[in-house]
Point group: C2
DNA sequence: GTCTATAAAAGGATAGAC
DNA sequence: GTCTATCCTTTTATAGAC
């Protein structure tokens, strides 16, 4: 064979990460397969050697979010601190920089809601993983945080970042600082 | 003239509300002008007698959300109760019924983020109006609620409804009830 | 596996009649 | 103001060479 097996895997990963980044920044419909492939250093025709169609790529790209989230799964001894750092990083990331991967859960909520069940299931998986990660950070031997509080927190994080991408920089500042304060107070109150 | 002036205004309003409903349920790109016009009882060609292009329609439709939100602007004597009812209605509405207009702020966040500034500004306006409405409900002569807390609450409401449209019915139930409880606790604690 | 070339469909926008 | 008919661009997807 003319190409090693690793080559295909590498191509596939390039396509996946190029797609996830572009979709997150601009939305599924606003990015063409052409652009994704060019971004991955390939041409359009090749796309179909890797994926059945554009929707399958969407699904697989969203599932790849899990891998990002599952990092640092060691038992935390300073979980609360790590959690606060995570929230801060999340809310203060530079979402306008095209080189950085913004949170797909925040950037694609609405976009995913209008797709086939396959895509929505992938999103649901990643959302679940985010909640589990937080639960893990905030669980100690003695106490464990209420699951519904975690859901309220992730809703706030995802919601505020999604909204921030539509409003002015000035309004964004107040929005994100309000959410940060509120998340912290929820945690400090309960645990 | 063959058509009365009211006729055009009525047509325009039909187009606007038909568009807002369809966009909210399925997203901007997934709805064709053809469909919007058919839904309003007109044909595609006529569209351009009312709007410059599809994007202008999007902007105007989102601005129309304000009108919905600005209802009930009388001074509330039982604001806190009204607020709780509003949150409950918001979180428990039947978002899958195509006859009902779901909250465009929740259904279109991500969608709007990827459009021209004109559209984003319209969204920002409506978002502002929602926050003001809540502020109004929760203000009394003696106390007024922290603006950043309101932003955290609207982020949670919009975020959770947006997320709920991607996940399972079962998961949605827990998500929305968690947000409702958390919003209530934030209000009862502070005010 | 990757490329170039091309088919085929969808949908936004315009022209002209009534 | 509204209709029908048409243009034109974009983009997904396929065919076939290397």
């Amino acid at each position: 064979m003319r190409y090693a097996k690793e080559h295909k895997i590498e191509s596939r990963n390039n396509i996946l990460s190029s797609a996830l980044k572009l979709f997150s920044h601009r939305g599924f419909d606003n990015v063409s397969i052409d652009e994704i492939m060019a971004n991955a250093g390939l041409t359009r025709g090749t796309f179909y050697a890797h994926f059945k169609n554009k929707q399958e790529l969407y699904t697989k790209a969203i599932l790849a979010v899990d891998l990002e989230l599952e990092k640092n799964s060691s038992t935390p001894d300073n979980g609360k601190l790590q959690f606060k750092q995570m929230v801060t990083d999340y809310l203060e990331a530079d979402y306008s920089n095209p080189e950085i991967l913004p949170c797909p859960l925040a950037c694609l909520v609405t976009d995913v809601a209008n797709r086939e069940p396959e895509v929505r299931t992938a999103y649901a998986e990643s959302f679940k993983t985010l909640n589990l990660k937080i639960k893990h950070l905030l669980s100690t031997k003695s106490s464990s945080i209420d699951e519904e509080t975690i859901l309220a927190i992730t809703s706030m994080m995802i919601g505020s970042v999604a909204i921030s991408r539509t409003i002015s920089k000035q309004a964004t500042k107040k929005l994100l600082s309000g959410c940060k304060k509120t998340v912290f107070s929820l945690i400090d109150a309960e645990y």
